[in-house]
């Protein structure tokens, strides 16, 4: 019998060939979805920019539906399936528990996605991503989502089964690595999320066939158990990838396993309550329900994110200091490998997710402040900073390591790959910031024409809004270029790239793969770690203490500025 494993020459891990193949298939599917989502993003952008106003009203809402489904469901979930196989089978040296079921799941997800794409592109599902009942789509749209979700739930089950197999077959010693623990968090949240998906899409599918009634408010409640929770899978998966990239690029250490793992557990316990963020100005729920849920029971999930926001940079700082980069407060940051696309993607993801996505998200998710944010451009401004600048950026960064490690290919156009995170992140930062500001003027999201031509009454936004739309367009187009660079690099590497030999030295690999692969900071720990120096009250990780202090200051200022803005409104109660 042939050996079902290969030994990775970089990490020394035994990689199961089925895991290899399943990771590849899911990653390729994710990239196809990203391509569709990215192309439609440009069309949406050029329509909302009123100076161009590219698409007709019908096609705008249709393409917006396509953009949402491909980015938020297909791209993200296919990629997360790959992450689940990687974090279980590869990191634990294990076989995949049920590879055949893995392929069944993949085919189900593919078939479901194809049905949804068909319904959307043929105009049978002009209901946007949220598909709020009683706006009705063709039954194939709902059935497609159900099939996709069933496939994803199977992969989640295979992930847990693989953990059991690895433990039973003693493929590793000690506890599971933190990255696997984080992926497990994502998988548990995925199970919760996908059950909500089943709970709402099965009745809605039956409703589309006129077999039952679905209450519009109940739909919004349960649907957001899917819609928002699925973004929390992203958060958990993204944080796991932060730890992974930290280890791969600079040998970041886990400062304290207890703190990081407890923070993941806080996600599991509380983060799913965030679906209430979408229901704060809804008629179906009272203030107590709104306060308890929107705050994840006293902001315990925010606490978790703030802990990770500390431990990730702290792990990088400590890892660098132990390897001798001990100069001053920020010497470790100055001498970090900024030219490594894995490392720059990691840092940009952490910073933009935290400063823009995180702060705006918590602020808009405050019960009363939501009055001045709900359904305006502030909301997509927020989630482009989280899902795109945070999650997608981290996913892109890890791809530069997945291609050599799993696909065993060199990175094509490596010079372009080095710039890709910077271009993408800078574009998205400008885009989402401009979008958020436009939203403070009350400009609605998901709207074809904010000049309201043909409407019975006129509404004319400030001239600043026109400027902000232009800035949004500029940022969005730069980000689209960054996205295209990513697709060119990854597709070319995977399908036409040069195979990677077994020699893992700098002379053999420099300029073709990220430097973490031949410097191997994650395996080559220093025999004698550098001595850590206490910096008074700032402790042994002074740089990180200053960074999180700046973060907290920005958070406090933005949060209270919004209360001030709210207090200028009409009295409402």
């Amino acid at each position: 019998m042939r050996n079902p494993f290969r030994t990775c020459p970089t990490t020394g891990l035994d990689v199961h060939k089925d895991a290899d193949a399943l990771i590849k298939a899911n990653a390729v599917a994710a990239t196809v979805a990203l391509l569709i989502g990215g192309a439609t993003a440009v069309l949406v952008l050029l329509t909302r920019w009123q100076a161009v106003h590219l698409l007709s009203d019908v096609w705008f809402y249709r393409i917006l539906t396509v953009h949402g489904m491909n980015m938020l469901i297909f791209f993200i979930l296919f990629f997360e399936m790959a992450v689940l196989y990687f974090a279980s089978a590869v990191l634990l040296n294990s076989r995949v528990a049920a590879p055949k079921t893995g392929w069944v799941a993949f085919v189900l997800m593919l078939a479901g996605a194809a049905m949804v794409e068909w319904a959307m592109f043929t105009g049978r599902a002009d209901v946007l991503f949220t598909s709020y009942v009683p706006l009705k789509a063709h039954w194939a749209f709902y059935l497609g989502v159900i099939l996709f979700a069933v496939g994803a739930i199977l992969v989640t089950a295979i992930f847990f089964a693989t953990l059991v197999v690895a433990k039973r077959e003693n493929t590793y010693e000690g506890s599971v690595p933190l990255v696997t623990f984080g992926a497990m968090t994502a998988a548990i949240i995925a199970a919760i999320t996908l059950l909500h998906g089943a709970a709402i899409y099965i009745p809605t599918f039956l409703w589309s066939l006129d077999l039952m009634h679905v209450d519009p408010q109940v739909y919004r409640l349960v649907w957001w158990g899917l819609g928002h929770s699925s973004q929390q899978i992203n958060v958990a998966a993204m944080v796991a990838i932060w730890y992974l990239l930290g280890a791969l690029t600079v040998g970041a250490v886990v400062v304290n396993e207890k703190i990081s793992r407890t923070a993941f557990v806080l996600y599991i316990l509380f983060i799913s309550m965030a679906s209430a963020h979408h229901l704060l100005v809804d008629p179906g729920f009272g203030p107590s329900w709104k306060i308890v849920n929107t705050s994840y029971f006293m902001y315990m999930a925010v606490l978790a994110s703030m802990l990770h926001g500390f431990t990730v940079p702290a792990g990088i700082e400590l890892g660098m200091r132990l390897r001798g980069f001990t100069q001053g407060i920020f010497g470790w940051l100055r001498r970090a490998p900024w030219h490594d696309p894995g490392f720059s993607a990691l840092c940009l993801s952490v910073v933009v997710f935290g400063f823009v996505g995180g702060i705006t998200g918590v602020t808009f998710g405050t019960e009363q402040i939501n009055i001045i944010a709900h359904n305006t451009l502030r909301i997509p401004g927020h989630f482009h900073a989280t899902v795109v600048s945070g999650t997608a950026m981290a996913f892109m960064g890890v791809t530069y390591y997945v291609i050599p490690l799993i696909f065993r290919k060199k990175i094509a156009f490596y010079g372009m790959a080095k710039w890709q995170p910077w271009v993408f992140s800078a574009g998205m930062l400008v885009f989402s910031t401009a979008m958020t500001f436009a939203g403070t003027f009350g400009v609605p999201r998901r709207h074809w024409d904010v000049t309201f031509s043909g409407a019975p009454f006129g509404v004319e936004y400030s001239a600043a809004v026109d400027l902000l739309f232009a800035v949004m367009a500029a940022g969005g187009l730069v980000a689209a270029v960054g996205g295209a660079m990513y697709i060119v690099v990854t597709v070319w590497s995977v399908f036409f790239g040069k195979p990677l030999g077994d020699e893992m030295t700098q002379s053999a690999l420099a300029g073709t793969v990220p430097p973490g692969l031949y410097t191997r900071p994650f395996t080559e720990l220093p025999a004698e770690p550098a001595k850590l120096k206490e910096h008074g009250r700032l402790g042994t990780m002074p740089g990180t203490m200053i960074l999180v202090g700046v973060f907290l200051l920005a958070f406090v200022v933005y949060y209270f500025a919004n209360w001030k803005l709210l207090s200028a409104m009409w009295q409402i109660g």
Binding site: D126, L135, A247, P283, G442, P444, R446, A464, W570
Partner: protein, 212 residues
Amino acid sequence: MHATGITPPQGVWWKPAHKSEKVWATVAFAWCMVLFAMMPVWHLRGGQNPSGIRAKVDPADYQARVQEFIRDYQVGTDAGFPVVAPPPGSDVYLIGQMWSWLPVVQLEKGAEYTLHLSSLDVNHGFNLYPFNVNFQVVPGYDYGLRIVPTEAGEYGVVCNEFCGVGHHLMVGKVIVVEPGGAGGAGAGEADGAAETTGASQPAGAGVESDPQ
């Protein structure tokens, strides 16, 4: 030596946290408590809360209430829509349907009203322009919000929940007049009047009185 995130930690890893981690965890926890406390505090002390009076309602019943409301208090028409001026303290009914808001409402500055929002068909979104005030309008549910207009002028009501292909045409109007004066402002007025009011102001700008 610490483990990295991809190596299995050996032995007991439940160890005391580093000093700086303890400091940050404490600060972050305290900030979370501030975030949590602000919401109940604003219910007690603040002037803007999305609580309202919430009830289920049959869309046909709600439509009948709106018709009655229009019949009782209509003072004119504007762009083909009835302009309705209810007395201070009364219930105001606004209906969202594909793709218009009915009726045009005329209120007095400084008076309290209960603004009822509901939909006859799909979800709609209530956005008051140029104030950036937003509420979800759900079919089958009556959202009654006690409001006190703080500034005279003409306001747009923009639908901000996708409700079908005519979504962008769904704009309504609220007129706020000085107390006791200027009745019947709606009748026969030019449609373009709304465009001149506060058109270039950001949300909330130009408000001098403290609504609290």
